[in-house]
């Protein structure tokens, strides 16, 4: 017997990690230089959450995956062109800023509201997924707040594996210190899981999945609720790039033995 799940993945967009980022001051606070021009990707840890969600849904027929994404509509649209080819999901878009300097509690409130508005949402089947940290704010704060707002007390972070049992209970593996995992068992939904890398490779693009998804992506973007952050209590005293660029000493003409001696000396210092 399998379990019919409702898996809601929270995931936004971030600048492609290969881009060089530079902070600037905007009327709304700190931001990135050319923020709207930077190529974006789905937040990496959230994408792992999405792949794990799709895999779980596939193993449990009748289950469904939603992707709740808060970001500027135009950028979401671009990123969805690729993401939609990966795995089946229904997009729920919220149109608003997704940068690292936005306030986690406000983002969490917008996400929780979007989740609660899903028609037919059944908490006894609900698994809320997300990345354990974003690649923008990088705080690991938002998902826990979403969980609190939804009244979910079974929360897990740094998750690398979930094993669902036929009775709906599951075992979870979370990252802890020293390269170890903590294993817990949970009675079942509702639960919230902030994913680390998980175990699945990035799915290959599948144009058929893309076509199916795009049927809902367009309308979802069209009816995306606008989200305008309120003023926050934060003052950014400064935002700066690390100053230090090292003067790399490039050593080309030493033998392996000479290098090894130098390294051993350095290690022992």
């Amino acid at each position: 017997m399998s379990m019919v799940l409702q898996i809601v993945v929270c995931g936004s967009i971030v600048p492609d990690p290969l881009q060089t980022l530079e902070p600037v001051t905007t009327p709304a606070g700190p931001g990135l230089k050319n923020e709207m021009m930077l190529p974006a990707v789905l937040d990496p840890w959230a994408s792992h959450a999405l792949y794990e969600a799709a895999n779980l849904a596939k193993q449990n027929p009748g289950s469904k995956v939603w992707l709740v994404s808060l970001g500027p509509k135009a950028k979401l649209q671009q990123v969805m062109m690729t993401v939609a080819q990966k795995v089946p999901f229904e997009l729920i878009a919220v149109d608003g800023p997704a940068g690292g300097f936005t306030e986690a509690s406000q983002t969490a409130a917008a996400l929780a509201e979007a989740i609660q508005a899903i028609p037919g949402l059944d908490k006894s089947r609900l698994l809320v997924f997300g990345g354990w940290e974003s690649a923008s704010r990088g705080a690991g704060v938002t998902m826990q707040m979403v969980g609190e707002l939804l009244g979910i007390q079974d929360q897990f972070q740094g998750v690398d594996e979930i094993k669902l049992q036929p009775d709906g209970s599951f075992e979870v593996m979370e990252r802890v210190e020293g390269g170890r995992h903590q294993i817990s068992s949970c009675a079942g939904a509702p639960a919230l899981l902030g994913w680390a890398t998980g175990n699945l490779p990035e799915p290959k693009n599948n144009p058929q999945v893309g076509m199916l998804n795009m049927r809902t992506v367009g309308p979802a973007l069209q009816k995306a609720k606008p989200f305008k952050p309120a003023a926050t209590d934060v003052t950014f005293v400064s935002v700066s790039l690390p100053k230090q660029v090292r003067e790399t000493r490039i050593i080309k003409d030493k033998t392996a033995d000479e290098i090894a001696r130098e390294l051993v000396e350095w290690i022992k210092q």
């Binding site: 990690p17 290969l18 980022l21 902070p23 700190p30 990496p44 690292g100 300097f101 969490a108 690649a135 923008s136 990088g138 705080a139 690991g140 704060v141 707040m145 969980g147 707002l149 007390q153 079974d154 929360q155 897990f156 075992e171 979370e174 990252r175 802890v176 020293g178 390269g179 170890r180 903590q182 294993i183 817990s184 068992s185 949970c186 009675a187 079942g188 890398t197 490779p201 209590d233 950014f236 005293v237 400064s238 935002v239 700066s240 790039l241 690390p242 090292r246 003067e247 790399t248 000493r249 490039i250 050593i251 030493k254 392996a256 033995d257 090894a260 390294l263 051993v264 350095w266 290690i267």
Partner: protein, 346 residues
Amino acid sequence: MDQILFLAHTQENGLLPASALEALTAALALKSASGASELVVGLVGASVQAAADQVAGCGAARFLGVAGAEFSVARYATDAMAAEAICKASAASIVVAPGSSRWHRVLPGVAQRLGGVADTHLTGLNPSGAGGALTVARWYYRQRMEAVIQRQRRPWFLLIDPGSQLAYVGAVGTATVELLPVQPGAAQLRTAFKGYRELSSGVQTIRPEAKLLFVAGAGWTKKQADGQPHVKEAETLILSFLQTSRASLGSSKSLVDLGGEGQAVLSFLTHLNQIGQTGSTPRHPKGLSTCCHGEEPHAVGWRFINERRAINLDANCGWARGKADVLYVADAFAVMNRVNELLAAK
């Protein structure tokens, strides 16, 4: 005036982990700078007396505790309950806590519950920063830029990044702990702790306390000058180096991903070893990169590695561009082989 709470959990032996003693240093600095503020110590664990005694001399006005078998290990529901009770009992406006995995996964949720805010991965704290008020420093965009911020809202939870402060040192004493009655119900006990899983290979390669981070890149598995890959040899070289040097093992994403794609890969590596954008950002005084290109998504994970050296066949690799102090343009197989011989001889 802020009411400061230092909030910690015990580790398996009933004492405070190093990360907690570091956070206590930050809490004490805050207290002494703001004069009239009071410091309360809050502790959670199976039993908290030994931990309270460990920091009995820190000058806290009160010691609050939540203790019992249900609080011995990390579980969101019970930890949130315990932290919430202590925060309320202490009337804290500022909560200083270690950014341990256990607290990191629960305190932002508690902040939400209490109508407060949480900032994590704090690397710096200035009690009398801009305008004489508290400022904290943290990194954004995966260690690409650093911001210094202030906040009005309270309670404000400050999670201090492990390794960023000196640990508190003080004489052990006898503390009087006020234990708070916190009774988890069925709703908080739906999750049960099963145990820890060590790495499947049984080889411990991640050592947060190590002086040296040794990074292995995908080059170790690539075809070498003779047109062949030498993965077994790479494994032996790396393992033997880790054994003698006691270094912590990091890896590039490409190398760990190869495992997932079914290619020959170093058997003792997992995603937990991955350094960078979608990996970790460990703290070690020194780092040695081998057979790794040093691309930006990898190098951002080196933000807190002070001295950096790299061995790469390519003089134009990423490390050459201001990312390492020294780049040895050489064959890492030959160099590490010799390094191992030298270390073994000592």
